[in-house]
């Protein structure tokens, strides 16, 4: 029991040291103005009506994005996971692409398409161009880009959890009910924790998003923190301006916990294959609808980027100049994803099994860090690790890894918690009774039985580490940039075709490992 306790304690302490300590140090500094204790940074926060309006805008945007992605993502994930839809694997990978591209680039691609002089205007005329432009700039366009970017989060998690359901439950229900009833009353309710997790991730990612709303001229609250960082260089006020978003996230977390408190979940314990829903004659109808959706939210923006990058010279130049950045991105993202799986597994276990008294506290810390702007964590990491004594960490790529762990542990933790919930405690207890220690139970029961969750956590971690910009931008050692950093630093005044080529290369290098892994195992 002690080894389990100590392993989990070490994981929590490491999370506190790596993630929370930098933020606490920033928070403490934000309580001081000119060397004396003061709440001035916080008092300034909601002094004008505009700040309340910005907060309201952020809430409306993030809630709308979460609701729409959940409403679209559940049926999409269900169709890909449980039906015999033709070409469902390539189609599901296609839907993941917008998540890989930095959202700001996606909004530029849409601008080239829907702007007043965009492709639509050139094809259908100026008046249509004016209409599409007014749709794009403002709330509607921002919501559209955010939904298309974050839809894969809900879709992938729905797929993952639906495949974990005990097929016997569905078989029993199928004896007296149609598939639509089984899905509504059995399958979807069983995966509610997964759906809430997906909604929570989408909510957090959209409430903290700044790039897309600012380029599409919809003002949101994160701009307050950003302005303090980038215009005023006032780190303390910037930290204070980031805290409300973290607090809102914690409130949403409490609501989620209250809602799911009494729920129990039944996942499959056997190796029986999952039940597949035959679509019959409706197969082609569903195929047409999904293809249309894929065309609108994936093919169009990617097509625009391809059109813009249509030159072998551009690809050659983009690849030659960025080869090292590509290799570093892959390396750092792989290392980051592996670290996130390890932390995610241990903290997910802690949350699911309530193995220590403060399991919810550890979860709250991870979620809070996930909700905070990367810049706050980045500057916190600098102030904590940039000393002569710790230069070995700060001046190496290890600092990037620490940033990934600080920011994204919540993803691995929550995915693993839901995944571990399908392994009954009785299995562990039986092994313990016959004398198996914690590490034996870990390596011979828990890890093998949660393989699918581990792979999902790794893939999600890989995508998020690979596309990370905020933290990497703040802490990467000189001459160690990653591809997203390079794309952003090259954006100013580089030819459009080179930037578009780099985005396409980014999509390819992300999809390659995903494709290889999906070939190895059906996930």
């Amino acid at each position: 029991m002690l080894s389990r306790k100590y392993t989990l304690l070490i994981a929590v302490l490491l999370l506190i040291m790596i993630g929370l300590a930098p933020v606490i140090s920033m928070f403490i500094q934000s309580l001081f103005v000119d060397g004396s204790l003061s709440l001035n940074n916080y008092e300034m926060l909601f002094q004008s009506k505009r700040q309340w309006l910005l907060l309201l805008n952020s809430l409306i945007l993030s809630i709308s994005t979460a609701i729409i992605t959940v409403l679209l993502g559940i049926p999409l994930g269900t169709i890909f996971a449980k039906t015999d839809l033709p070409l469902k694997k390539p189609l599901s990978i296609l839907f993941i692409i917008p998540l890989i591209i930095p959202p700001y680039i996606l909004s530029i691609a849409w601008f080239y398409c829907l702007g007043r002089d965009g492709y639509i205007a050139r094809i259908f005329g100026k008046s249509i161009g004016n209409l599409t432009s007014s749709f794009l700039f403002g709330f509607s366009g921002t919501l559209f880009v955010m939904v298309s970017t974050l839809l894969p989060v809900v879709m992938v998690l729905t797929m993952t959890y639906l495949r974990m359901i005990n097929p016997r439950l569905e078989e029993a229900a199928k004896l007296s009910a149609r598939w639509s009833f089984v899905l509504r009353r059995i399958s979807i309710p069983i995966i509610k924790p997964g759906i809430f997790l997906a909604g929570l991730i989408v909510f957090i990612l959209s409430i903290g998003e700044f790039g897309v709303p600012s380029s599409l001229r919809f003002d949101v609250f994160p701009v307050e923190s950003f302005i303090q960082f980038s215009a005023f260089y006032n780190f303390n006020a910037a930290t204070a301006a980031a805290i409300p978003i973290g607090l809102i996230t914690l409130i949403v977390l409490i609501v989620e916990r209250l809602f799911l408190r009494e729920k129990t979940f039944q996942f499959k314990l056997t190796k029986e294959p999952i039940m597949i829903i035959p679509l019959g004659k409706a197969k082609f109808f569903f195929f047409a609808i999904i293809s249309l959706l894929a065309f609108i939210i994936v093919i169009v923006p990617i097509g625009v980027l391809l059109l813009k990058s249509f030159s072998p010279w551009a690809y050659n130049e983009a690849f030659t100049q960025s080869r090292d950045s590509i290799m570093r991105s892959l390396l750092y993202a792989s290392m980051g994803a592996t670290s996130l799986v390890i932390f995610g597994f241990l903290l997910g276990y802690l949350l699911e099994r309530k193995a220590l008294r403060f399991s919810y506290a550890a979860d709250s810390i991870a979620i809070f860090l996930f909700a905070l702007p990367g810049t706050v964590i980045g500057i916190g990491l600098i102030s904590l690790w940039n000393t002569q004594a710790t230069n070995i960490i700060y001046a190496s790529s290890a600092i990037i890894l620490l940033g990934y762990i600080a920011k994204y542990t919540a993803l691995g933790e929550r995915i693993m918690a839901v995944s571990l919930s399908h392994i009954p405690c009785s299995m562990e207890e039986s092994a313990q009774i016959v004398g198996a220690g914690w590490f034996r139970r870990l390596f011979f029961i828990l890890i093998p039985l949660s393989k699918r969750g581990l792979i999902s956590a790794w893939l999600v971690g890989f995508i998020f580490c690979l596309k990370d910009l905020d933290i990497t931008m703040m802490v990467y050692p000189p001459a160690h940039d990653t591809l997203p950093v390079r794309i952003f630093t090259l954006m100013a005044n580089s030819p459009e075709r080179v930037i578009a080529s780099l985005c396409i290369i980014m999509v390819i290098i992300t999809l390659l490992p995903l494709g290889l892994l999906t070939m190895v195992k059906d996930i």
Partner: protein, 333 residues
């Protein structure tokens, strides 16, 4: 014996650490000038001197918080030797925060005193001008056109909280005084001026005919023109009695306590040389050399051909800090 693996691990880590602490022939530079223009210059420096350049490049201010925030956050244990800023205001901020240290380069001698700090905390080179990029047939000729009914809802400007647009408004407040400048900004707003995230985005919006014109940096407009886009470039307020056009040089700064100060000074000398100014004039950055008599391509004006605003960058930086709360309020209205 039980501790042998730990001992080996500690010895290995100490060895790795010692290797990383060995003096290397390198220089660390943080760069806010667009990477596409600055990277080739730094590569040339590497080739010519054999000193390895380790660079951290910045994004446009409104895309991410980059080099300046790093420099400020790292002040207690600086990692950079040199900061290459894309305008002098940031360099003045570093001076005020005690992050930079004076260095007088011999190569700065030919640069007019207007474009360098008298105490040697920063030195300007290769400037850009604030110009109009225009896509309409008719063209504005003065920044006052932003207030005119003729251009209602047809003009855009980058967010004045960031970058060179901040500098531009600070200059106006310095030259005109607070009252006149606030009146100008108020009328701009009433005339339906839209705010974009950056000068690059303003140019894209004008190129794509979302707007008729925008005040941008000359490298943005020159690039669009050289890329074959249907826009042209206008130097504002060049007529007799006009206030002239804002000239913003790059500025190079030596960081106090940087790890390789001597190599840092060599890099600064290199950047301030007439040859680097010539390269930046002929590159797509189309920057205006500050040394006199340097050859430029036909579409890059010489500094003596431009009617420039007469300003003190130190005063502008001070004014900037005073007016930022007002500008923040203005952008949010």
């Amino acid at each position: 014996m039980r501790f042998r693996p730990f001992l080996i691990l500690i010895v290995t880590m100490v060895a790795i650490y010692s290797c990383t602490r060995q003096v290397k022939n390198e220089v660390v530079v943080y760069v806010s000038t667009d990477q596409v223009f600055s990277e080739p210059v730094l590569r040339d420096f590497e080739k010519e001197t054999g000193i390895m350049v380790k660079a951290v490049y910045d994004t446009e201010e409104t895309k991410s918080t980059g080099a300046m925030n790093r420099l400020i956050a790292e002040r207690n244990n600086p990692q950079a030797d040199v900061y290459w800023a894309n305008e002098p205001i940031r360099a003045v901020v570093l001076k005020q925060k005690g992050i930079s240290t004076p260095y007088f380069s011999q190569n700065a001698e030919g640069i007019p005193s207007l474009f360098k700090d008298s105490q040697g905390y920063w030195t300007g080179f290769s400037a850009r001008a604030r110009v109009f990029v225009v896509s309409s047939e008719d063209a504005p000729s003065s920044i006052l056109d932003y207030m005119k009914e003729k251009w209602k809802d047809k003009a855009v400007i980058a967010n004045p909280l960031f970058g060179t647009t901040t500098s531009f408004f600070s200059v106006l407040f310095t030259l005109w005084g607070d009252e006149k400048s606030k009146e100008f900004m108020k009328k701009m707003k009433e005339n339906g001026v839209k705010i974009s995230t950056s000068n690059g985005e303003s140019t894209t919006l004008v190129v794509n005919k979302e707007f008729a014109f925008s005040l941008v940096d000359s490298d943005d407009s020159t690039n669009a023109i050289r890329d074959g886009k249907a826009v042209r470039q206008i130097y504002p307020d060049q007529e007799e009695g006009g206030i002239g056009c804002l000239i913003l040089p790059n500025a190079v700064v030596l960081i106090k306590g940087g790890p390789n100060p001597e190599n840092g000074k060599r890099l600064i000398d290199y950047l301030l040389s007439p040859e680097t100014e010539r390269k930046l004039a002929f590159a797509d950055s189309a920057q205006i050399p500050l040394h006199r008599g340097i050859e430029t391509p036909p579409d890059v004006k010489k500094i003596e051909e431009i009617k420039a605003m007469r300003i003190d960058y130190e005063d502008v930086a001070k004014k900037l800090q005073q007016i930022q709360p007002y500008i923040k309020e203005w952008t949010g209205e």
